[in-house]
Symmetry: C2
Subunit: 248 residues, 2 copies
């Protein structure tokens, strides 16, 4: 398969699976967030037919998920440059039949996807509030991926709740410093948080990532705080993270 790479692009592959992903230091690279989100997301049930990845970036989360499901995966990404990378990575892996990339604002999702039709949504949203005063990344690609410039938690939860079936699940990776915002916006749109997993960079440090599973129209109790993930131990990846990246 011949896929053209643009300037500053390279192909990355996790040793733990077979997926190749076009990365670019200039634009946006998937990182541990995407690996952990894909690992946290449950998609192996055969009843899961339709998955949507919002804020898809270069498509990494969906591509990782494709290794554990035969469901149709739709990647929605507002930035043409990133949506193009996702499309080329899909071709590189010969997964055109399983994937569909929508290059549009996620608030337009219902123009493409039927209401109440989706089994699973994943999202790695912009983490930072779009304060006028906040120091944004000079690189516009990065700024849009990281700050609430083009979208925000409220919009993401509103559209996700519309797309999901009753009892459909949403999986999000986020920063703990806005955990309250995340849980409040989820409940506002009847996406009830049911499982949370915190990610600590190392023992004795504060968590720096949080993974949340919410269920559409789920009951408002029964939230489980799962055993934590620790990323580094003495400067090396812990066995768990090592397994995700390099295989077991």
């Amino acid at each position: 398969m011949n896929i053209d790479l643009l300037k500053n692009e390279k192909i990355d592959q996790l040793y733990s699976n077979n997926v190749k992903i076009i990365q670019s230091t200039e634009v946006f690279s998937f990182s541990l967030d995407a690996v952990l989100l894909a690992d946290f997301t449950k998609v192996s049930s055969k009843r899961i037919k339709k998955i949507v990845d919002l804020c898809a970036g270069n498509g990494a989360v969906g591509l990782f998920l494709s290794q554990k499901t035969a469901a149709q995966i739709t990647e929605i990404e507002i930035q043409p440059r990133l949506a193009d990378m996702a499309n080329r990575s899909i071709k590189l892996n010969g997964l055109e039949n399983q994937f569909n990339v929508i290059n549009d604002d996620l608030s337009k999702s219902l123009d493409y996807i039927k209401k109440d039709s989706v089994d699973v949504i994943t999202c790695n949203p912009p983490y930072f509030l779009n304060y006028d005063t906040s120091k944004k990344n000079d690189n516009e690609y990065m700024a849009i991926a990281r700050h609430e410039i083009k979208t925000n938690l409220d919009k993401i939860m509103m559209i996700s709740s519309s797309m999901l079936k009753t009892n459909g699940k949403m999986y999000v990776v986020f920063r703990p410093d806005r955990l309250s915002d995340l849980l409040i916006n989820m409940r506002k749109y009847h996406l009830e948080p049911k499982q949370i997993k915190f990610v600590y960079p190392q023992q004795g440090k504060n968590a720096n990532m949080v993974l949340v599973e919410a269920i559409k129209d789920g009951k408002m109790n029964g939230l489980k705080i799962l055993p934590e993930i620790v990323v580094y131990d003495n400067g090396s990846y812990t066995d768990y993270v090592n397994g995700l990246i390099y295989g077991e």
Copy 2:
């Protein structure tokens, strides 16, 4: 000091401090929740003059706190039997000058305490929703302490927000399965969660307690998920918990 003990009462003392607390298996016993909440609560600053403990039960949280502050401590407890135990424990420890027990519904707190006057509030609220169908403890003392029969998170946060000064702090111990309810009710009354610590019974299990520090009128971001507490390791208390109970 002669203090009368009623039937089925005994005096417990944590070896890690000097406080004696009247306990009763029949009514209500302080447990690890109270020890962890008192440990989590920051009261050593000399600027802290006024502390209120809501849902005070037999007064354990306030009594533990008295070991690290000279501030005035008010215990508010709706159940006369428990308020009486708290009063006798206070006498037993010779702490009448530092303490004040109010035996009333916490929703009446402003009849006793000035608005915007409190530096720190602690609360170990009833954990369970008061569903008509929920299986309550046959013992009414326990049922009221554990279920939202006489109060609920909404009332607790409303009254706490009224009593606290701007930038005053609220410390709560709760069950993770209602974490969203807790964070949502806190924000509703401008008590912004700033630090959270999860308590896991042992490595690899789900958390079974959560400690939350909120700041009145705090900014809506910057929440920190602190390193976790693990209670047991191989059937024995971990060093950390051992230190809290038996001293270091």
